[in-house]
Assembly symmetry: D3
Homo-oligomer: 314 residues x 6
């Protein structure tokens, strides 16, 4: 298999396939048009200028296209950049797919699906269980391939399901340690809390925010949808309100986007499980790239902190 871009250094020549994540038009100082192309594969990313780009080039080399590329990697203002020597769109006979170039969840989506189903199977309250099942059925496709965010944590294919399943594991253990917790509520809250992201995010490649996402947000979208699904199932009563509340309050505080703070025990715990799993995901990714005895880069979503990897971590 081809050596990914992440395994090349400044000075190397690259030859292989990459996915165009974004393509931007510009005008050079000589007045001629050019394209800035942002390439990714599952090992990393790099950008390049395509000078003197023709109208045809602009139509061919667009977002989500896979290309065959030959180029030299040099440094420009402190960053690696590709100098393109040849570029052409991938062809059917090349046998490459968009999904080959995207980073994926470390756990396979079939396993994630299975583990989520197990959790639903454990539920006892029929109203809660039926509502959760209805969502799984409704979003069976997207739920298992969407990322959990456009950047920050779990920003990869099946990231949302990976996040949910990790949270379910923590939830199961906390229910053992604190038997007072209502497992049905906690599991349901975990599974539903971020499903609104299927509407908030544009998709799996070049993930951006939709209009609904920007104007209403995934929390509000989901609070509405729980009501709709319950109505369709003709389920009424406190379970519906409390599931809505779990989703509404899972960011923990008004200033973090939850108009109501958690006011039910499981809502409070749901918030912290979400926080822990998101932080572990970001910390592990950053520390993986860090040598013992060194600090990570500043992590935006962790208040710009740099974390230290102790020397005694072999």
């Amino acid at each position: 298999m081809q050596k990914g871009i992440g395994n090349h250094a400044v000075g190397d020549t690259f030859e292989g396939f990459m996915l165009i994540k974004e393509a931007k038009k510009g005008t050079a100082s000589n007045g001629k048009p050019f394209l800035t192309l942002y390439f990714v594969d599952s090992s990393g990313e790099i950008d390049a200028k395509l000078w003197d780009a023709s109208k045809e080039d602009e139509e061919i080399f667009t977002e989500e296209k896979v290309v065959k590329l030959v180029g030299d990697i040099h440094e420009f203002r402190g960053k690696a950049q590709m100098r393109i020597k040849s570029i052409r769109p991938a062809q059917v006979t090349d046998g490459v797919r968009v999904s080959d170039f995207l980073e994926k969840s470390p756990v396979d989506k079939d396993i994630l699906q299975e583990q989520m189903m197990e959790a639903i199977f454990e539920m006892k309250n029929p109203n809660i269980q039926r509502i959760v099942r209805a969502f799984i059925k409704k979003y069976n496709e997207d739920l298992f391939i969407y990322p959990a965010a456009s950047r920050n944590h779990h920003a990869y294919v099946s990231g949302l399901a990976h996040h949910i399943v990790s949270m379910l594991k923590i939830g199961r253990q906390l229910c053992d340690i604190y038997p007072e917790l209502n497992k049905d509520l906690l599991y349901a809250g975990i599974i539903l809390h971020d499903i609104g992201k299927l509407h908030e995010l544009s998709g799996v490649v070049s993930t951006s925010y939709t209009l609904e996402g920007k104007l209403l947000g995934h929390i509000s979208l989901m609070v509405t949808e729980i009501k709709e699904v319950a109505d369709e199932l003709k389920i009424e009563g406190e379970e519906v309100i409390i599931l809505q509340h779990l989703v509404l309050s899972h960011h923990g505080k008004a200033e973090w986007g939850s108009a109501k703070p958690p006011l039910v025990r499981e809502a409070e715990i749901l918030h912290f499980i979400d926080v822990i799993d998101a932080k572990m995901n970001m910390l592990n990714r950053a520390l993986e790239k860090t040598n013992p005895g060194e600090f990570t880069e500043r992590l935006f979503a962790l208040d710009q902190r740099s974390f230290y990897k102790p020397l005694f971590e072999e």
Copy 2:
């Protein structure tokens, strides 16, 4: 007509009808049960102890009952209190109604309804107009008698409709001054923004918060309901999302309960019209009771400020 409690002073004897707003049981230091009764009429309120209350008394003298009362007004710990001499439930023949004892909007509810309908009549976008009409029809009863809040501003019968109609007046003028404003959106936002309070608040007498109100809040309830009403009317498209956004963002900031800040021009203006009308209502009520040259009491919802009434206000 009877002289209201608000026109009596410490030392006076009161005789007349009042409404029980709240009734609380207690045990006296002699071990006997008593009731603390909170009476209101449209001119003010006072509380009293009913000593040695029998089981029967506890059943008769409950919230929302009108009673015939004779008592002396004395001072207890710096506050006026009624010493009950006789008390009995009002009878059909007394010809008194609960609504006689509640404070009402200074503008009659029929006029409010008419003015709201006029605004709807001016709308040009059929989707927006149909959604608003559907809400008016759905809540025709409650919308014109509910208060806008349990305390603070417009906390009286028909207060919600009074608030909406005052805001519509400001909205109309701003649309004249700034023709860039979309009148349909602004009117719709004004009419819908607080309708969720019909679910958030328990009712007109002894208004408290419902479970949905506490766990989800009137904003979230209304964002959901706009979607439901639009679905029923088979209306789709940006109008629905933007009406939801107007409601969602009308508190202006995350920390004030709007998970998204206003991101549409009319949403920004809706927020300020709401603020102005609420503040004018509170300021006018407080300054009415204040003499020129003096300060009002501290106003909780105005950051605990005391406002000054200039001497040259005759």
Copy 3:
């Protein structure tokens, strides 16, 4: 008439007159001096380098000079830039004036003046009216040509008067809707609130902050000046203190520059009228440049928000 710079694109050649807004000296990597010139006309702005600038060039091409310019527009680091082919100072015979190159209020200054006088004419309290008249007389010149700010809202010729007159329109309507408002006070507050900017800002072209502006601010300068004007008119009493208070408190909160928050009804309302007119001015300008279905650029003075222009805004 000449096509403004705002109607040219990268690749075009520009020929025409522009105003120098700012001129900065630099030393090129070859050791020779050059000038960076920032040009404006009423349609937009652009900058250029004048290489190998002589001492004479430095004296001729200075702030607030109009020049005749020929050049090519190219892109440099993602921004349009002029490459100067020829440049000379405008001559008397060119028939161009500095004011031709500055953006102006959409409403003519004579109309603004007339509308302000009408408001003053409506006032009934002679003390308030005389103080306001004295200010109009004192600053008759500057008051009708100054901008309201160096950037953000109403940052154009006659912007201050335009801001005041729009606010007076809102004020008039609110006095109709809420007859409890003291129109004299509200009008006076509106007219006086920002007059301190005539001292705080350096002027109409290349507006910057004066020393008094930086060390004392327009609010403090105006609070002092109201007292001085009142003393000259031999007016004493609460009206003076309350006018000072209206100006002092019009930013609404200590952290926004008002050492005292509004403590008089009209002061509270003045603050919100000011906010609404400033925001409408910024929103309208940003949305005018935005297509339906798109978001504006981030607006600094609106908490860095991007606003959406709905698709159904034709």
Copy 4:
């Protein structure tokens, strides 16, 4: 066994033993001295006045004394109060001990000790393990009887050990779910994080803050002591610094008392485990006293929130 005070109501007569938690002297309006006594047993607390208290009474009825008491329970300003009929100090022959009257951890201290030892046994890094063992040995007595706080969470006998052991359980599970976590560090952080409270708090009965506690705080005291213990064991190197950092940062933010925020992965997780266990303890205690369909009282350490107990919690 005697029925505790928590099982008595207003109107009842109480006869039995109680512990004096606090005794305060006062002077009655007749000029005579009296004592206010605050009694506790493991089921609840109540206070009483001892009128006309003699010098002898003041010496006998002091903090941490057990007394035999007969009295009537009546209501005073909305709170239950004891009216003392007879009172005498407990005697040896009564066979009662102070510890009988204090609330205890639901898990026995021997079991807590055993579970803590198990965790230490699992550690692999000898430096970390030796430091932790040294602390257990040093504080073997107090560590297993101290509360974790004077109020709020785990404020009962053996509360500190109970808190640690619950946290160890969460820690063990998180190490399973996230194998990247260093179990030695996390366990050590959990065991050590609050040991400084043995110096910060005065003891088990009538727990108050010591001078060191007030001026330095348990975090600072423990950071110092880890260094001292390591020096005694002649252990040097990063393990010591990182253990100190875990303790120093476990409150998570400067404004919550951690001069440095967590900068090591296990420090970040330690903070959240601490938060979850403290919150669960407070939530469970409050919800236990609440009926389904009702809200708890406002919980001070949970931002004054009232939590709802759903109706479907049987």
Copy 5:
């Protein structure tokens, strides 16, 4: 000389003269009027009820009157209270003056005046010196008897001058240590910074806030007055602006009431000298009343902190 109220305990009988600081009317539960009188002398304060107060009593026993009083001191709700046995207005022949009953600066006002004059004498910049002299002359009377505040720091007769003179001492020393400081500016800033309090505070007895004080504040009043005084002296130029700036910015931050933060070196230092002297005054007063080994009461203006007095402070 009479033993002050501060030297009496509950149970004692008091006989002597006191000043009425405040008198409030009330109605007893028997419907009869009574007066609540707040007495002070230079050693402390106490309040009392004057039951069955006649119209004449209400006219005689008013604020700022000295009375001859006999009464018993008892405890009421945990606070000492006087039970009046006899009360009469002081007569000329009693030879007592209001000022005998007020707390005074520990340094005599003549000495304070002398020390202030010395500082002015050291000034070299004639403009600054003349402005400061003009203020001293204008307020010669009040400046040396006013308190610096109605409570908090230097709240006693001549407190303002005492505050200024202590600050001048610090200022002199800092000018020695940091010769870069402009002594004229610093001294002038110190002397002028709080003179606005002569308008903000009502007077020396029962000090309250004036209307100007509440609506404009001492800072704003003084910024205006510096300009007026400079105009009268025909002084123009930067000295005036900078003196205004020193006063305007001396609270240090917008949220503390300074619309502009210090932007001149001496302004920055002035702020800290003010803070230090105010804090030392409050700390010394609180610690004087505290035994070694104990904490002071919570100090409101020091963020509610209690300060510790070490045991080794003999």
Copy 6:
């Protein structure tokens, strides 16, 4: 003596010795390695590229090396930069030392040492005095050459001692003005408060933060060390706790890094003396470089303020 870099302008040729403060490797767009060298001397700093750097160059031209340099100064992106013509390491025969190239305290380190000893000599409490002496002895070397910070205030050789001695001068004067202050405590607090920086900072040249510095901070390190030193001296009692508290609280607030706010009078004053000396140091350095009538650059550690230097400062 050689003219420093600070006395050269763009266009000049420089010839002389400089110290390498930092050396960074890069790869040029032609694929060849280069070095970016940051040079300093006591008059200023400049950077340069060393193109086509050999392996040998990389080993020779490293941090803390002095070099003989010839080069031209040109401008690159608005900043002066050196174009190297020749460079070689300094040789023994050149007679230059690293310390010649570093900025030093304006007061000689011997004088600083003497003044610190004088203060210690004045102390009366033997416990406090012995602890302070022990620290001076322990760090005799570093204490008098370390800077007080890596940037901001007193960031030069002997900066820490200079800071301490200036603070002692203020402390002495405040003890005169407020005799209630405990001079022993205040002096000890001043001398000890920042000694933890000897562990927090890496050294005198190219000062950076150590691991302990980053994870524990100088405050925490010093609180621990005071206890250790006291233990070694067998000193126990409140003096130790209070010295620890002085250090712990000297940043004044939790959010500024002091887990406990000052709770002892001298701690409160220590904080303000520290603030004043740090601010004076930064202000004086910035204003020195500023002409009368102009503003300084924005000062990061002074909340990004620019300070004005009055015209009448000659």
